[in-house]
Symmetry: C2
Subunit: 136 residues, 2 copies
């Protein structure tokens, strides 16, 4: 990931960020990285966590620590194409936040709800997105 276009100009990251992706040994690969679906979960957890930090700052809530634990349930028969009624992707994803902050439980729940509402990756995963895959 090197750059993007926005705010009226071509933008560059400070550096080109590289990520290794692989599949585990039980899928006949070498396990030299997280799997692609796990990388999507990393993006979702990162987006929601950044949102929590941002909304907390806006609301004057002092955060001491935020930890996201994320799980996706997937039926391997879908991936393998063994059962056409089972989808390829996640059946459900659960993100659980442990937050240490100067705030009530109600304030923290409202904080999480707002971060979810504003999260781009939550939107991408929760809703359908049009994807065009083509040969150059």
């Amino acid at each position: 990931m090197a750059g993007f276009t926005g705010l009226g100009a071509e933008q560059q990251h400070r550096a080109t960020y590289e990520y290794d992706i692989d599949h585990p040994e039980c899928f006949a690969s070498e396990d030299n990285g997280a799997t692609p679906v796990e990388v999507v979960l990393v993006g979702l957890a990162g987006c929601l966590t950044a949102g929590i930090a941002s909304v907390a700052q806006f609301r004057g809530i002092q955060l001491r620590s935020v930890t996201a634990t994320i799980e996706g349930q997937m039926n391997v028969l879908g991936i393998l194409g063994a059962d056409p009624d089972i989808r390829n992707g996640f059946e459900t994803i659960t993100v659980r936040f442990a937050i240490d902050a100067d705030a009530t439980r109600e304030e923290l729940e409202a904080l999480i709800a707002q971060a979810q509402k504003r999260s781009a990756v939550f939107d991408v995963v929760a809703n359908p997105t049009k994807i065009l895959v083509e040969l150059a």
Copy 2:
């Protein structure tokens, strides 16, 4: 990312894979990593590329190189919440593959189509997924 449950047992990756995520300086952050939405694109490109390699092997197509170029179109007014009619996520995503292989253009297009059909991340992004976000 450390492990997963599957094939009747708890599975562990060979190592725990860690990824840094951040937002760019024009979003008032420090740009110490790709953004969460870019990480999702990395997962999509990785999943489709792995699928192409896998289907090519199955079909006896010798690949010399596969390069994915991926772009997501996003209206920043959606992220900022400035216009409720504009979604937070990608409007469209385009993945373009340059492939050097011993195969005809028709064979390569069929290869890409099958990789798309079997891709878990394509399924996750193209279709709605239920996500539960909660406070521990």
